[in-house]
Amino acid sequence: MSKRIPYGQNYYPPVPTGFTKWKRISKFWQFFRFMIINLKMLRMVRKH
């Protein structure tokens, strides 16, 4: 995360915690998300 400047552009948005960032690249968790996202996309494909 870049240094947040009070009242600056990057001061207000939520930023991920270390745990969230770890989850984003955790192989185990992401394998599970890989299956879920694929199912979501297939569900979308089946709508048309």
Partner: protein, 485 residues
């Protein structure tokens, strides 16, 4: 034997050709006219632009595939459509000009029974003075552009290694650009590669865009359910920019690009200067410049095409205020209202209006994204329209009732945010419907059960999988039809 003529062999044209050929089983002819020798999986061009892939990994020779499949192919560009025929040809026809070696510049009339215009966009760099690879900014719109951009980025990285600080500007190069998603992907891939090269601290990264807010992506953004809230994509997108230390300028129309400096106008009509060392700015799109003539030879281009050069189909093109827009405005059959054997799909059809709310600066400059037409909707409309045409050719017009309105269709989209097999990330999104429907989904315009988004390594794996899957499909290898659009 009738002929289906398809102009263009991008995602929509090529998909239509393969499906039509499979359904017609050789009973009628399918012919593709495309000025390009190679097919290009455009979504992966951003990876060519950061050196993660070579141009040959995102392209293949079209002729070989068409030869194998029995699809007729002309490497040529379409110039004029004669939907009523002309003095020499009783049947409707198209004037084409060859671009292949040996026949370059030769012209020929090609007759058709059914026509699909899937010519895609013209990259209109001329809309902004100084924009584009021939002038002062780079592009990733074609694999050739992306390759040049990567070469320039490598030089920049080398200079940063030698202690020079650089400012990199990525985004849209005009007030009415679309495809913000592609620029977004390039921005985050550049950020990733700078980190990998150990020079991230030497670069100041800027996003400049005609979006009203971050996360608009030309579709008015989207709301998703997460953490007990229904939250707009603006929040998640700003979060990603803040996390990666990227500054952003929105509501901006780039007016001029000069050597290492650009001018942009904001919604207040105020002009600003921004200097840079490297800029990748997307151009606005327009139609490819096809014209049309009637049987008598009179120009009827305005009957077939909207002012922006895209082909009119069965949308409602009556000018309306934003509050009066309806999902019903969007085309369903993609058939021209007068010439019912002429269709336009993918980027080639004229949208009835934008999806994002139109905005103008105080001095009257339009500053809002035009509608994106990404791979999935382009592929779906190509398949449905190809099937309709095949049913008509096969003498079953009663079956030709399939529709593919973007207001009734969803899309799945993966936006790469760093191409690393073990530490990359991508934003995985599903949106339904693409065009918000505030009559059916009063609160957000979209079905929150089908509109989702998250970022993670899984998204990168899926993008990689899609890259290989769609190239396999486009090569018409065994069981290609099992891979959905």
């Amino acid at each position: 034997m009738q002929r289906l003529l398809i102009l263009g062999a991008g995602i929509s044209g090529h998909t239509a050709a393969l499906h039509a050929w499979k359904k017609l089983k050789g009973t009628h002819e399918v012919m593709v006219v495309s000025p390009n020798k190679n097919w290009n999986w455009i979504p992966s061009n951003i990876w060519v632009g950061v050196g993660f892939m070579e141009p040959k990994q995102v392209t293949f020779d079209l002729e070989k595939v068409y030869y194998k499949e029995g699809i007729h192919y002309r490497q040529a560009k379409a110039l004029e459509i004669y939907p009523e025929g002309n003095s020499e040809h009783k049947k409707p026809c198209v004037l084409i000009e060859y671009t292949s070696e040996g026949r370059r510049g030769q012209q020929e009339f090609v007759e058709y029974d059914y026509l699909i215009n899937s010519t895609g966009p013209k990259l209109n760099f001329n809309a902004t003075p100084g924009l584009g690879p021939e002038h002062h900014s780079y592009s990733v719109c074609t694999y050739g552009h992306a390759d040049e951009t990567w070469k320039a980025l490598q030089i920049l990285i080398n200079e940063m290694r030698h202690g020079q600080k650089k400012r990199i500007v990525i985004g849209t190069g005009h007030g009415t650009c679309t495809c913000q998603g592609a620029a977004f992907e390039y921005l985050f891939n550049v950020e990733y590669i700078l980190k990998k090269e150990g020079v991230r601290h030497m670069a100041e990264l800027y996003w400049i865009s005609n979006e009203a807010e971050l996360g608009d992506f030309g579709m008015g953004g989207m709301h998703i359910k997460m953490g007990g809230y229904v939250t707009h994509s603006k929040i998640f997108t700003e979060s990603l920019y803040a996390e990666r230390g990227i500054k952003w300028i929105t509501q901006a129309a780039v007016k001029e690009v000069r050597d290492k400096e650009l001018t942009y106008e904001d919604l207040d009509g105020v002009m600003h200067e921004l200097d840079f060392d490297f800029a990748m700015l997307l151009p606005p799109f327009s139609g490819v410049g096809l014209t049309a003539k009637n049987k008598a030879g009179a120009d009827i281009t305005s009957e077939l095409f909207a002012a922006n050069g895209f082909m009119k189909v069965d949308g409602d093109y009556t000018p309306k205020e934003y509050d009066n827009w309806s999902p019903e405005d969007w085309p369903k059959s993609y058939k021209h209202p007068k010439y019912d054997n002429v269709y336009a799909i993918g980027i080639a059809f004229a949208p009835p209006h934008s999806i994002s709310k139109p905005m103008k600066s105080k001095s009257g400059t339009p500053i809002f994204p035009t509608p994106p037409r990404t791979g999935m909707p382009s592929g779906v409309m190509a398949r449905e329209i190809a099937f309709n045409i095949c049913d008509r050719m096969l003498g079953n017009p009663e079956k030709a009732t399939r529709t593919a309105s973007m207001a009734k269709m969803g899309a799945a989209c993966i936006a790469s945010a760093g191409a690393g097999v073990l530490d990359g990330t991508a934003v995985s999104m599903t949106v339904y419907p693409i065009v918000p429907d505030f009559e059916t989904f009063e609160e957000t315009g979209r079905d929150l059960n089908f509109t989702t988004g998250e970022i993670g390594l899984a998204g990168h794996w899926i993008k990689h999988l899609l890259h290989h899957g769609f190239i396999y499909k486009a090569k018409a290898k065994p069981f290609w039809r099992l891979i959905p659009e």
